[in-house]
Amino acid sequence: MPWLPILIAVPAVGALGVSLLPKGSDKLAKQLTLAVSLVVLALTIAMATQFSAGSKERFQFAQTYDWIPAFGVHFGVGVDGIALVLIALSVILVPIVVLASWHDTDASPDGHAEARPKRSTKTYFALILALEAMMIGVFAATDVFLFYVFFEAMLIPMYFMIGSYGGPQRSYAAVKFLLYSLFGGLLMLVAVIATYVFQAVPQGGEKSFLFTELIGRIQDPATQKWLFLGFFIAFAVKAPLVPFHTWLPDAAAQAPAGAAVLLVGVLDKVGTYGMLRFCLELFPDAAKFFTPLVLVLSVVGIVYGAIVAIGQTDMKRLIAYTSISHFGFIALGVFAMTSDGGAGATLYMVNHGFSTGALFLIVGMLIWRRGSQFISDYGGVQKIAPLLAGAFLIAGLSGLALPGLSSFVSEFLVLIGSYTVYPVYAIIATLGVILAAIYILWMYQRTMNGPTAESVKGMADLNIREKWVVAPLLVLIIGLGFYPKPLLDVINPAVKQTLSTVGVSDPAPKVPAAAEQKGAGQ
């Protein structure tokens, strides 16, 4: 069964269907979108049950069709553990986002600080589905060219979601987002084409864009370095790493909450996913050469993002800056090139999607009630909306990687994995843990604690729909915090495969105690 093409096709067709609905059928559009996204989720779960973690194949469920034979371009899809968990992240987030965005296109209620007119509902939901198709496609692509196509095409729905449905400065934010991404994308396009041109074709082989065939074909060190930079800068803009980050706070702050979740939760992961998949495996020597640079960027991003987050006055911008800090962690894990760091970074991508997604959605609910993104407009919400505050706290604590919540496992793995090879960087990165506590708890204190502010009096607590939005995320956050094994079991072989392609191995401990422990245990 061609699982992945179906997975891409279902939401794409759904998007078309939703956009073709007659005018005025807003409710139907929402229900149809939700149904399609749930179908996709069910299909993904069905696919995941057939995934075999121990398989020797590089990609499972692989399907390859010729697309442009003249240039060796294929419609090639397939997943390994890394791609699978990220696809799972996407398809889990989409129904939640759909449910959370139920009223996002309505006109703003009375008494809102910012008056928003009613906007086309079906277009918005069709865009979400279109985006879902592309998100699945980008993670499933096994052809570099196909990856690039999805990578760039994803911008389009997101551009409209920000530019048409966002806050007061939406068009500035949308254009900034688009220009930044296109800048990165352009560099990547050059690198993609150059990769095709400069590949060393083995005897009897053909030039190809297929990822598995490209591995090891770029041998010249200088070429590797240039191509690595081409890919890396695109991914660094996407991820985003400091100093390519300033589009994210604007985009995330202006985007509607649901779009912000998809943007930060999934779209940006394409950047770090790309680093892990393409930068490392296609250009291993260049990756090793540039590792110090990337590590500096990551560590600076971790600390800098956190410090700037502390100083924010706008909740959505604050969360965006925390994400910049978190992306630093992910990049650190990827470029530590240890099995722990890699597994941690991959797990971090998933967990960050859930925890930041939850934060954005809950903040979105707050903003929907009050109409302001500014922290100073809130205060004492816990007293009148305890559930909302509780959910906010759990999501926030996950953001600061509290043990027992999902982010902890990944952050711990990243740090421990990088500490074994780059202790100094890891120690500086660990400072981010302290700063995380400051930015999250300070925001929580200013919005939720203290005497109830005049402006939030009469604020409603979570309603049924919102509980259904928040509950799955919190369950995932807590569940994965205590039992991350199912994900790690899927991720580990893929990470090991990646690292063996790069040709690195974990450093051995100075006093190997673990081996003896296993021996003693038997």
Partner: protein, 646 residues
């Protein structure tokens, strides 16, 4: 040291098979389930929430007691029992298997946590009876108990770390329980953040352990600790010490504990006196094989302990807030434990013994203070108390017993354990012994002074109550825990110390002390201690018992102000960390908006400006365009002529 370490019984950890020990995970699971039910159940559980929470805590206590007896039933060598739970983090090299380690050390803590914890649960039923959020309070208490048990029962550093931050979370939630008070919210946040600084050290310590040993489990690490270099062990030891300082409010991370008194009093009793703050002592005792290989780190522990015991005691002398005075005392007492733990195998068991007796008497006193506050309309200012012994006899008696225990009145719990610590400190070689011992001795005197001051100001003297204060004795649900804790304060020390019962019990974990010779009631050090304690009490009597206490605090000497301001700890933090931090944050935000983003926007504006100017070329006159096209055509023609002769 190392030779002794090799002899230390890092014995094989036997796996539990069946029995209560196999079910010991219930100790954690029960209160955790309680917390989950109460939090998820919401208002529906309001009616029985406090009962459920207490029941869960008691059930956990029962499991702990049963496990304890099962452990007692084994021979000393077999008293280290592992319980494998599940595969927690299976990654490449790091493979964390979640498991529990039931040994004399952890079971002692488990008993203390669940025992004192249950009493405080019961007490809180009365104390919080008027609070609309009582259910939430009990769910947080249960959460704390679960996290604290995980901290002490886990068989690896990651499990410990989870519990470590878990209790931090519970502490955060409980300090900020009355979150509508800004001071409480700020105190909660401060506690969490300062703790995170400590956690930073603990985390890096764990990373170093992993990088060195390739595992985070206690068993293999301790077994191979002697093979690692002293440098690494010292580094790990200092990092763990940083973690311990954060959690146990030791210098320089002490500042949060006094603010933490914003929480409800049972919380102060349970978390900020009896259990959580002692986690640092647990960490160091648990990691004894590492510290034994790192004398420098050990010395650092002892110095931190000695410094803190003095600092806490000095702070305790000047506070008029009854809870803050007790908090200073807690700092000081934990300083004693740290000092003892820093003394190596000679001190571990004593530290834990003092920790347990302290758990009893300090919890009792905090609950007593709570009872007093309950009676005085939640006023914490001791200057407005006075003469309460007559209206609150049970509180007075139980508090008094705790008081006698803490100042080390012969026969009471503190007498045994504290004297042992002082003695052990003097037992160190050379100047070090005199300095540490001297500090401990001085601390004992100051302790006597400030505790007596507290006693006299609260229970003796004339009434200085507010007009609307109508003190009364607390209900039985609150007094019974006081009585039970008072029994512990009276007999705990003798029970543990006499005959070296506890020291032998802990031997499988911390090793046998070198030249230990039992408790000697007439040792010279002990006698000097008694004299100093008596002097402290007498001084307090002169200053606060005989003379009337002014309701308004006098300005006081430099030293008083110094102590009242927490030894300028907050001021130092503020000027060294907070203000530069704020500046840094402001600068970073400015830099990000104007620098990084400004660069980008400037680039955009530059492009925009250039195109705005170039745009003017588009006059809209078709003839201008035609002219430029024609001009281009002419150039092309010219170029062709030049290049190829057309």
């Amino acid at each position: 040291m190392t030779s002794l370490l090799a002899a230390a019984p890092a014995a094989e950890i036997a796996q539990a098979s069946g029995g209560v020990l196999g079910l010991s995970w219930l100790m954690i699971a029960l209160p955790l389930a309680g917390a989950a039910i109460l939090l998820v159940g919401g208002r529906r559980t309001n009616s029985f929430g406090h009962l459920l929470g207490t029941a869960m805590s008691l059930a956990s206590f029962v499991v702990a007691v049963l496990a304890f007896f099962e452990l007692l039933g084994r021979t000393a060598e077999q008293r280290r029992v592992g319980v494998e739970l599940f595969d927690f983090i299976p990654a490449g090299q790091l493979d964390v298997k979640m498991g529990l380690l039931i040994d004399p050390l952890s079971i002692s803590f488990a008993l203390l946590i669940t025992g004192v914890g249950s009493l405080i649960h019961i007490y809180s039923i009365g104390y919080m009876s008027h609070d609309p959020d009582r259910r939430r309070f009990f769910s947080y208490l249960n959460l704390f108990v679960a996290a604290m048990l995980l901290l002490v029962l886990a068989d690896n550093y990651v499990g410990l770390y989870i519990g470590w931050e878990g209790v931090g979370l519970a502490s955060y939630l409980l300090i900020g329980f009355w979150q509508f008070k800004p001071s409480a919210a700020v105190a909660a946040k401060k506690a969490f953040i300062v703790n995170r600084v400590g956690d930073f050290g603990l985390a890096i310590g764990i990373f170093t352990l992993f990088a060195t040993f390739g595992t985070v489990a206690y068993g293999p690490i301790f077994e191979h600790a002697d093979k690692a270099s002293t440098g690494i062990l010292t580094a790990v030891g200092l990092l763990l010490l940083l973690g311990a300082c954060g959690k146990s409010a030791q210098l320089p991370l002490q500042s949060w504990l006094l603010d933490a008194m914003e929480g409800p009093t049972p919380v102060s009793a349970l978390i900020h006196a009896a259990t959580m703050v002692t986690a640092g002592v647990y960490l160091i005792t648990r990691s004894n094989p590492i510290f034994d290989g790192a004398p420098t780190a050990q010395l650092a522990v002892a110095i931190v302990g000695a410094a803190t015991l003095l600092a806490g005691a000095i702070i305790g002398c000047a506070k008029d807030d009854i809870k803050k005075a007790l908090a200073g005392s807690t700092m000081s007492q934990i300083g004693y434990m740290m000092l003892a733990a820093g003394l190596g195998p000679a001190g571990y068991a004593i530290a834990i013994a003092h920790l347990i007796t302290h758990g009893f008497f300090k919890a009792g006193m905090f609950l007593g203070a709570g009872s007093v506050m309950h009676a005085m309309n939640d006023d914490v200012n001791m200057r407005k108390y006075g003469g309460l012994r007559k209206v609150m006899p049970i509180t007075f008696i139980t508090f008094g017993l705790g008081y006698l225990a803490i100042i080390g009145f012969p026969g009471f719990a503190g007498y045994f354990t504290k004297d042992l610590i002082i003695e052990a400190a003097f037992g160190q070689e050379g100047v070090r012994g005199y300095l540490l011992g001297g500090a401990a001795l001085l601390g004992a005197a100051i302790t006597a002074f400030y505790m007596s001051r507290l006693m006299f100001m609260t229970f003796f003297g004339e009434k200085r109550w507010d007009k609307d204060a109508h003190p009364h004795e607390s209900p039985p649900v609150m007094t019974w825990p006081l009585i039970l804790l008072a029994i512990g304060s009276v007999g705990g020390g003798a029970f543990l110390v006499l005959g070296d019962r506890f020291i032998h019990f802990l031997e499988p974990v911390v090793g046998k002390p070198e030249n230990h010779h039992g408790f000697n009631p007439v040792a010279p050090v002990g006698l000097i201690t008694l004299v100093l304690v008596a002097a402290g009490v007498a001084l307090a009597w002169v200053m606060y018992g005989r003379r009337p206490v002014p309701v308004e605090a006098p300005r006081g000497s430099f030293l008083t102000v110094f102590a009242r301001r927490d030894l300028y700890g907050d001021a130092i933090n503020e000027s060294l960390l907070m203000r530069p931090g704020q500046w840094l944050t402001r600068f970073a935000v400015f830099f990000d908006n104007r620098g990084v983003d400004g660069l980008v926007n400037g680039l955009a504006a530059g492009v925009g400006g250039t195109s705005g100017r170039l745009r003017r070329l588009q006059t809209g006159f078709a003839r201008s365009y035609a002219l430029s096209m024609f001009f281009g055509a002419a150039i092309v023609a010219g170029a062709l002529l030049l290049v190829g002769n057309l």
